[in-house]
């Protein structure tokens, strides 16, 4: 893919350096994700 083409009409590109993946609102969901993930592993391990 030609990045020049993307620059042509991509408003996000100008902000890429400032992009963050996690912000404050994601914290409860991170916990949620970990709970599901760890619960699945624990239940599987004790079941087998």
């Amino acid at each position: 893919m030609d990045n020049n083409l993307l620059d042509e009409f991509n408003i996000d590109n100008n902000k890429q350096d400032r992009m963050i993946i996690f912000d404050g609102t994601d914290k409860p969901f991170l916990l949620f994700y970990l709970i599901i993930f760890i619960l699945g592993i624990i239940l599987t391990l004790i079941a087998i």
Partner: protein
């Protein structure tokens, strides 16, 4: 009223409430269609995972394990591979282009006729698929509640339509959190209960729990437990087929990937599918083991009923939680497909194609109208057209071609708009020929799945036309104005 039924009813009401709650988030059409491009990492990953885990991944994997053993774990390994591939190689392109639909991305990569063809094929395919998935959902509800199949389908269809009408992608994101929690806890808890508490109760298990008890019980039934437990019990071709399905079926599948379009930025769009892949990875270990339990316990002779029979035979509360998990997996998939279909219909066909000079309010209104039309018509379709199950071929025929168009469009400089258009058309013609055995029985003759057959056809078509056709002024004049500068080919 059974305990399982009560749990399901309470859960259903809660889900509708949650979906409708999202209405306060909607102010413009972008809020409906792509959640205002404001979804955080967890909303996107959880929505993708919940959408991807559907009837095939739950009831279907238990069915395969029941008859062919634990080799079915490759289904979700391959699916996870497809999601990671989408995340790392495709997602940021879609997000950087600020697209709302996959056909729209083809518009940017190719031309107007490819966009129109992809829009129509996607809408027809997803409409069929919504009906098929609604039938599966209705069958699950019927097996638990004892309600009439048609009534079950109608109740589920209308409820889903109501919450999608409220806030579109925001509703899907909100409900997906609850769905994922239900799937991610309900199914492993039921699995744990089966392995720990139910297997020792089987006469042939010699009081052992876990896989050793299950092996003893299977051997007691005269089956070969070692072969059924082998991760290669399905054979190499089936595993290869799962990987082909994962690779072809995900990177251009609107219903699965559109949550990445709603991500806050392209980094989130890229990482979220990888997190979703981790969530779906273990699912077939749980469902497959419960499918094998159904066989060891002699609960049913019908593999399709393996998971339902297991969950209905165990402790009612644990079984009810497990059924809620399966129900969540199915309903999140139907809602995702219905929403994906309505998005393309409203945005691509209705607004951009047929009514281009309309304002945002008009788009919002018609997005909701199309959710309503597709939701209600699919509910009635699922009630009255059981034979439509065969029409899944339509989706299988075009998904590989869409993937080829997207992948080549991104990475091959010579990709030509005519090649993309004809790859789609040829895939559809190939799919129809395969489905109706014209002129030969392709499945018996070539020993290929329909999606592989159509992908090969569209790949040959795409490469041949791209190599033969040169970019000219005429070609670029068919492109949207803002990428017209690409005269003479791609840079």
């Amino acid at each position: 009223m059974s305990i399982q039924f009560t749990i399901l009813i309470i859960y259903f009401i809660f889900i509708i409430f949650l979906g409708v709650l999202a209405v306060r988030k909607v102010k413009a059409s972008d809020d409906l269609l792509v959640a205002g491009r404001n979804l955080g990492l967890m909303y996107v990953s959880v929505s993708i995972a919940a959408e991807y885990m559907g009837g095939l991944g739950t009831i279907g994997t238990a069915e395969v394990a029941f008859s062919q053993g634990m080799g079915v774990i490759w289904y979700h390994i391959a699916s996870s591979f497809g999601l990671i591939l989408f995340g790392l190689a495709f997602a940021h392109y879609y997000r950087k282009y600020n697209v709302i639909t996959v056909p729209e991305f083809l518009y940017y990569l190719y031309d107007i006729k490819t966009w129109k063809a992809a829009s129509v094929l996607n809408v027809v395919g997803y409409w069929f698929f919504t009906i098929i998935q609604m039938t599966a959902l209705g069958a699950l509800v019927t097996s638990v509640t004892g309600l009439d199949l048609k009534l079950s389908v109608l109740i589920c269809g209308i409820a889903m339509t109501i919450y999608l009408l409220a806030a579109g992608m925001w509703s899907v994101a909100f409900t997906s959190v609850a769905f994922m929690l239900t799937i991610g806890t309900g199914i492993p808890i039921a699995f744990w209960w089966v392995m720990k508490k139910e297997i020792p109760l089987l006469a042939a298990s010699a009081g052992l729990s876990g896989y050793s008890g299950l092996a003893a019980a299977l051997n007691g039934m005269g089956l070969d437990a070692t072969a059924l437990f082998s991760p290669f019990s399905l054979g190499g071709m089936a595993v290869f087929g799962y990987f082909i399905g994962g690779i072809l079926g995900i990177p251009a599948a609107q219903a699965t990937i559109n949550y990445s379009f709603g991500a806050k930025n392209w980094k989130i769009a890229r990482l979220a599918p990888v997190l979703a892949a981790i969530l779906i990875l273990p699912l077939s270990i749980w469902t497959g083991s419960m499918g094998l339990f159904a066989r060891a316990a002699g609960l049913t002779n019908n593999p399709k009923l393996a998971l339902g029979a297991t969950l209905m035979s165990i402790h009612p509360i644990v079984g009810g939680i497990g059924i809620a998990g399966v129900f969540a997996a199915l309903i999140s998939t139907v809602a995702g497909i219905l929403f994906g279909c309505a998005s393309i219909m409203a945005k691509d066909i209705w607004q951009r194609w047929l009514h281009p000079d309309t304002d945002d309010q008009y788009v919002s209104r018609w997005t909701r109208i199309w959710i309503l039309i597709i939701g209600i018509s699919s509910s009635f379709g699922a009630m009255t057209l059981p034979k439509i199950l065969n029409q899944a071929f339509f989706v299988y025929s075009i998904r590989g071609a869409l993937m080829i168009c997207v992948a080549f469009g991104i990475w091959w400089k010579r990709s030509h708009p005519d090649a993309a258009y004809w790859a789609l058309v040829v895939a559809l013609i190939g799919g129809v020929m395969y489905q109706f055995n014209l002129p030969v029985n392709f499945e018996a003759f070539f020993k290929l799945h329909i999606s592989v057959w159509c992908t090969i056809l569209s790949l040959i078509t795409f490469v041949f036309i791209s190599l033969r056709n040169k970019w000219t002024t005429q070609t670029s004049s068919e492109l949207p104005p803002f990428i017209k500068y690409r005269k003479g080919g791609r840079k």
